[in-house]
Symmetry: C2
Subunit: 348 residues, 2 copies
């Protein structure tokens, strides 16, 4: 890949996904890198028109890009689980996005519901496993709809899957000033999976003597996100625990409108995919009310992943500056206006 010419697949998806992706692309273009985008109409509309969620031919095509930018998928008109499982999770699984990277960072000037938290208290990265655990889709039901129904849900954890994400997290921790890594699980109850995670974590830690390690049960960690977020630097955790923790993380770092994420394939056997943590928010869709900041920060992660560290930093700085400005009561901007303002800073 010529990193100066990004071949990008864009999946705007549904609801506000479409609006925020427009702004993300605007910022990306302003960076000065050559970007060639191809848009894919995956999501609720295509599902209703054709019954398709993610056809194999499209999946194969997507493999050819340098990266994917996704807005959000989901609409109340589609039964729950379909677009999630057959589109979003299918992309994550098929493209082997085994690292779901979610920074939890309180930017200066941003209001947090935590009365006393300062930006230096909330600055962590959650490394969420992305391809196994309770997200494997395994399970079943018997005697459905009767008083004797039983429904199971199975979590799959492999040494292969756990070790690679744990290693990634150790590398991430080593590269940060604090060099601290916390494993979050529920080893006292989920004893089989917890045992594999804890043993793997301990074994790999021997190779990283400079990384300070810690363990925290998921219930306690969820509490500490609220009471002592400064405990955490890098966290590595299971797919489901990571899902929950990063939403608490979004809350304490100023809201879901700012939370970025990368579904990363560190081995680069397939393109990584960047998306805001928020959903399609059908209730405010099409009204210009969505905050495109999370998508723009996801674009910064995308640039970093493609080796464009300087460009990435420039986008993040533009967002940081815009967030400071917002403090002064500069509210009421539309999705477009926020996108324009950040674009101007990036270009400027």
């Amino acid at each position: 890949m010529d990193s100066r010419n990004i071949r990008l697949a864009v999946i705007p998806g549904d609801g506000i996904g479409i609006e925020v992706v427009t702004e993300g692309l605007k910022v990306l273009e302003a960076v000065g890198t050559k970007v060639e985008t191809t848009t894919y109409d995956l999501g609720a509309k295509r599902y209703h028109e054709t019954g398709e969620t993610l056809p194999d031919a499209v999946l194969d095509e997507l493999r050819g890009y340098d990266a994917i930018l996704l807005g959000a998928v989901g609409d109340p008109s589609v039964p729950p689980g379909i677009l999630e499982r057959d589109l979003l999770l299918k992309l994550r699984f098929q493209l082997d996005h085994y690292v779901n990277l979610r920074p939890v960072k309180l930017f200066p000037g941003v209001e947090t519901p935590l009365g006393k938290a300062r930006p230096e208290d909330v600055d962590m990265i959650v490394v969420r496993e992305g391809t196994e655990g309770p997200y494997a889709g395994a399970g079943g039901a018997m005697r459905r709809g009767t008083p004797y129904e039983i429904a199971t849900q199975e979590s799959f954890n492999t040494a292969y899957g756990v070790e690679r994400v744990v290693r990634y997290a150790f590398d991430k921790a080593l590269a940060r000033p604090r060099k601290k890594l916390t494993l979050v699980h529920k080893t006292n109850v989920l004893t089989y999976a917890g045992d594999l995670w804890a043993r793997t974590f301990d074994r790999v830690s021997l190779e990283y003597p400079d990384v300070q390690t810690d363990y925290c049960h998921v219930d306690a960690a969820s509490m500490f996100f609220v009471t002592q977020p400064e405990r955490f630097d890098v966290i590595v955790t299971d797919n489901l625990f990571g899902d929950i923790l990063t939403d608490i993380g979004a809350a304490i770092a100023g809201g879901i409108g700012l939370a970025a994420s990368g579904n990363v394939n560190p081995d680069r056997t397939a393109p990584s995919m960047f998306e805001p943590v928020h959903g399609s928010a059908p209730d405010i869709a099409g009204q210009g009310k969505a905050d495109p900041t999370a998508t723009i920060l996801s674009v910064a992660m995308l640039l970093d992943h493609l080796g464009l560290a300087e460009e990435s930093a420039r986008v993040e700085q533009a967002v940081a500056d815009d967030l400071v400005e917002r403090q002064t009561g500069w509210t009421g901007r539309t999705t477009h206006e926020i996108g324009d303002d950040i674009t101007a800073r990036v270009a400027g």
Copy 2:
């Protein structure tokens, strides 16, 4: 049972469990009800001395009491999972504590990490399922310790188990002024279990036209605990999601030192068990630093469960008054002193 003569089994357990239970019993006696207590030495010490966690004979004896008061079990000297699984969870499962009742209530005067939350914003009850789900202990591992290891963890959900806890939650919601019940799950990913929970919830809701219902994914609910706790009145949820949510709940309601819980068998086929949400906190054990308030509030729940509503209200009021007093800078009291002060209010 003669509700004026409580036959109580007491399991102080480990660490601060022993200290807080002493205060809980002091308050219970001050209520004026005749209480006959028998103490059981279950916990880390007994495990080390005899290898026993919960012998069948003890379990059988425990069945004969009106209720159980538990402090906390767990010690770093015992491998993780043993006391949890073979003592605490065994009690919950064997005594069919299918409702794990956890109020999340911000008392006036109590400091919360949420800058803007007022007591009226944080006032809910989490009805956590207590006998199945991912806590069933099902799962296994293969090729343990090799690069080819696989570890599974299974969630068991039955129509029987889900319906009874959902019904309990609807009754609870109906009895509260707001009459609102929210189901929390992750139906879009845990599709088999989620489908059973959602269908059961919808079906039972038809019998409760006066209860306003709502659904929330666990990740969003965790976020809303921090950003909009006022959304919630009564919540019904799965065992693991309830574990996580109630720790966030403890955080926003002023900390784990105040969080009470009841492991309730609503059919009264076995005694219910009341315990603080916090653990044994070995780091501060034996120093008189533990806050016995959570245990005292658990005693209030115990009294209520035994039909002593007036006595329960008296204990809760004494705690509420003590909490208001603390605001005025009255800190530094020991475990005993706090217990004494609340006892005096209850007696007085």
